[in-house]
Symmetry: C2
Subunit: 186 residues, 2 copies
Amino acid sequence: MLRGMTPAKQPGRPRAGIDAAVFAATLSTVHELGYAGATMDRIAAAAGVAKTTLYRRWPSKGALITDCLLDALGPAPLEGVGREEVMATAIRWVAAEIGKPGVGAAFAGVFVDAVNDPALRAILSTRLQDPYRIALQDALGEPENRVLLFIDIVVGTLLHRLGMTGEPMVDADVTALVEMVRHHFG
Amino acid sequence: MLRGMTPAKQPGRPRAGIDAAVFAATLSTVHELGYAGATMDRIAAAAGVAKTTLYRRWPSKGALITDCLLDALGPAPLEGVGREEVMATAIRWVAAEIGKPGVGAAFAGVFVDAVNDPALRAILSTRLQDPYRIALQDALGEPENRVLLFIDIVVGTLLHRLGMTGEPMVDADVTALVEMVRHHFG
DNA sequence: CGGTATCGCTACCGGTGGTAGCGTAATTGG
DNA sequence: CCAATTACGCTACCACCGGTAGCGATACCG
């Protein structure tokens, strides 16, 4: 079994532990200057790292943002949640995350970059969406296509509101969204 | 009354009727090269027009795309539709429009530009969203905030699917969306 | 005609994602 | 201590993009 094995030591200088600093710098820069304003130069400067180092670790700006979102969101908080409450919990969690500074704008930005960049779309789908989709399938026992539709509805609705108004969705509307989804999928 | 008055002739050379050519060139360029690839230079070249002429008529790329979408969509086809069927008709119409070549990508692109550009957000909200929102309020008799939530759900869901998969939503999923919304708002 | 406003064109600006190459620092194995 | 190896910071660079300035030419009104 390979599980649990410590990887063999490689020769050469080891990579510095800069990921946490880079992710924090990315989110705060996106928060302050928006997705387009958060340039790779600025992110590198805010993280105290050379721009070339960023490109040694991530193949593109979109890939960096995707990893940053993955780190910021963490696993879906569905531990011990009863099946009846899984969808409501997921919706309120996503709404709260998208409301955090920088997260929503980063999400929307990497999203549109993906519309015409198949490589980025693959990264986004595989690294970011798939884990949550699988967790939801396990928790709900619903087939894949229904879970995918659920994700489209929840994330799409919340991002559309953010893009149109510049502000995250208020609680009353999130509750209405929860009720609608509950009646249809529940 | 001012209605029906022919505007007083202005001195100077009149504007050439290039809007139709520009809109057609914009959509086809976005379709071929994506939102980011559809540069103002390329759109101008495809329309047979100088780039500076575009900037004389539209203040930014986002504003041009917004007007282009407004022209491509036209008024919502809700004439003579019974109140029960207004939402279903609107959803299927939006789904079909977003599936047309270039329209979905243009929509998603101008959208993310708007997240951090308040001027563009105002244009998008006033010129594109408001007419359809008002038409829906009239047809449905629902309050503004509920119609706005409806628009977020429909447009957001369809755009999220497009961004994530690169393909418009298939009919079966559109039907599921219609059913869900019908039970909640109906 | 003269006045006026638009058009096409060229040239330009600051900035952006992304790359190449260099010297240097950090680690492993002998 | 000495090679080999890998990552780092830095500078320079590239093609390209949104947007602007200024020019002469053109089309209309009175």
